[in-house]
Amino acid sequence: MQRRPEVVPIVNAVREFVPAGGVPTAGDGLPPIDDPRFAISPGTRSGRLRRSWLDTFDWRLFRAGLILEYRLTRAGHGELLLTDRDGDPVAAETLTGAAAAVPRRPFLPGALPLGPVRERLMSVTTIRAMLPVATAASTLTEHRAVNTDDKTIARIVVERMTVLPAPKPGATIPGAPKPGAATDSAATDGAPAPGTSDRIAIIPLRGYQAQADRFAELVEQAPGFGPAAHSAFETALAAAGRRPGDYTSKINVELAGDLPAAHALAAILGRLFEVALANRDGTIADIDTEFLHDLRVSVRRTRSVLKIARSALPPSLTERYRPEFKWLGDLTTPTRDLDVFLLTYPSMADGLIGANADELEPFRDYLRQQRTTAHRRLVRGLRSARFARLAEDWQRDLARLASSSRHRPVTGPYAAARIARTHRDVLRTGAAVTEGSAPAALHELRKRCKELRYALEVFASLHEPAQHWRAVNELKTLQDVLGEFQDTEVQRARLRGFAAQMIGQGVPATALLAMGEIGAQLAVRQQAARAEFAGRFAAFSSPQGQARITALTGAAR
């Protein structure tokens, strides 16, 4: 079978209607039409449809103004439709055979066949996997709107959609409906199940737009019917208890300057742990690398808050939880380090000059093996009694903190003082770094910078957004170069460790030589970062650079 060119057909304007309140209607779900120009020819075709709307965990498609729907009409036959938020087609792909099974599990767009959908998804979602955000089972009945010649002018598709329970991360989207199989209560017993809604689409036939529009106006005027205010996607999402963009890793806590700092910190720490927990299942299911990344960032931010704001927290709290969050952070490090290697592997292989990419393959195999082992350990940790106890106790203790009587200090001045303090730490540590300083000195500076960054971020709601953005941007420029320096330092050390282990496993010498080249690439990058550092720090510590941070400490409400 040849493939049809992947062109999205230009379709006439489809109009959608719903019964009043979206509640399913009795009978065939059709509006009464009393007009001599038109008649409804009752349904001759029917079908079932499984619809899933997919997005990344952090809604990258929706944020880019896109909606992806996967439609399964029968086993081994699926369609991916990418539309804009108004439902206008952007790209479409028919998936048959083995490819039809791809979107039934979380998948990276690279797993799709070459085509416009894959191309568009890859540019938006990058390294994040696609997951179902809502899934529904529909029964469709097609009727025809005919004119006085008994010629069809529009197809009328009545869809009864039942939203299915949200699948857990990593779970499979339920399969295609089997013809005639009684899978949906809504479709079988006549009594609509909860989460069931009806929708009527008037699909004009080519060349009959004007007549179809007149017909649609009659439907609009029919008692008990009105234009669909929400798309099927919005309806399904709402029924599943979700809303677009309902996950973000941002610390979206609104703080007031006169709030007791302990209460503000309880809210911030609670939010950080919420993000960590939201990413736990995806990390365990190993859906994509960003679940672990977000989990890790959340833990790191928590540790920083526990450190920089310890004076506003009960000592018993910091004493108990700082070692616990260090444990949790350390638990995630080996897997993340290997993820970074694997994510940057293609560019490292591309950069080989002496060796060729094939010779480096044993290294990739080794990284994958190591990652499997590391991830298994990570999963054990995340499922351990220690983690469960940490989660339970931490949330309970934060709830207590939120209602504690610690009314001093108050958030505004406290935040300003903490930001000022961490800022001073950065300036002092940075000033001590010279051309001859050991890598450890730059590492220390990087840690201080992270503390300042987190201090800025957790108290962001206290500041004027533009001022906040300028401060963070100033700092970020410095952090980028320190990050590059330290990451390459760690990677070089890890690379040496890997090579030592691989020798014992009888890996070909060519692989080790290729790894030597990778080591050299890292060293070049590290040197470049080091060379760039002085200029960046000079800018950061200049009066203008400092003013960007101090503007916040003075402006804290």
Binding site: M1, R4, P5, V7, T44, G47, D149, P179
Partner: protein, 263 residues
């Protein structure tokens, strides 16, 4: 995109029946099909319940003032669209004559539809005219229904002789017996004689069946309204022959049929 024309110089030989049924069967197989009803009488348009009217008439289409795809109407069948007839098509010859290259005009008009359709079926009016010439130059395959009479044979000879005179591309000609009656001796004799003359003749002969005549009452291709009937079987066989002669690739893998006929 391939272009198939149901054509004969003579009228009343089954051109429209052939065009509508072949077009329907191709669409049912998954090809995206456009049927152009070039006959001002508009029989094919009538059969699909489409009003035989094109805004601006045939002149607007031929001159390019109105794009061809603007005038296309969907039929009630998936994958099958129709470019309706218009009474002004009777003057198409004159309009073609005003064009710079009238012979290739039809093919050039259809070329932009190549991305949208896999097959165009032309239902042609009887006659030999500038329009017919343009059709002959546009088509990849001519399906020529023949009633087994001596006069029919003469018109076929005229046609093949005419095409032989073309320089450059020529359509492939596939003749087939239409309104064939096996009980008539003359039909049997003529049918036996033709292949010897070197014209390609389909193995399928379409008999004279009342069901085919009744199509105009049903206003639908017989292959759609009575798919299990005898007439539909003959047309399916003819379509299989025409498809391979036209060099059509396998039908494209279309979108899955979400809707199936209700039981």
């Amino acid at each position: 995109m391939r272009i198939l024309a149901a054509y004969n110089i003579k009228g009343g030989v089954g051109k429209t029946s052939t065009a509508v049924n072949i077009a329907y069967l191709a669409a049912r197989d998954g090809y995206r099909v456009l049927l152009w009803d070039l006959d001002p009488q508009g029989a094919a348009s009538f059969l699909f319940r489409v009003r035989p009217r094109v805004k601006g008439g045939g002149k607007a289409l031929v001159t390019g003032r109105r794009p061809v795809d603007d005038a296309i109407k969907a039929t009630d069948f998936d994958n099958l669209d129709l470019l309706p007839a218009d009474f002004t098509y009777r003057n198409l010859d004159l309009h073609l004559d005003d064009q710079r290259k009238p012979m290739t005009r039809l093919r050039n008009l259809l070329r932009p539809l190549g991305d949208e359709y896999d097959l165009v079926v032309l239902d042609c009016p009887p006659s030999i005219s500038l329009l017919s010439e343009s059709v002959l130059h546009a088509a990849d395959l001519l399906l020529v229904p023949l009633i087994p009479t001596t006069l029919s044979m003469r018109t076929l000879d005229q046609l093949t002789g005419f095409i032989a005179g073309f320089t450059g591309r020529r359509p492939r000609v596939l003749a087939f017996w239409s309104m064939f009656d096996r009980r008539k001796r003359l039909h049997r004799e003529i049918a036996a004689e033709l292949p010897a003359q070197g014209t390609e003749v389909a193995a399928t002969a379409i008999p004279a069946l009342s069901a085919i005549e009744r199509m105009s009452l049903q206003r639908a291709p017989i292959t759609a309204s009575a798919p299990r009937g005898q007439a539909a079987r003959y047309y399916r066989d003819l379509w299989a022959e025409a498809r391979s002669r036209a060099g059509l690739p396998d039908p494209p893998a279309g979108p899955p049929a979400g809707l199936a006929p209700a039981n």
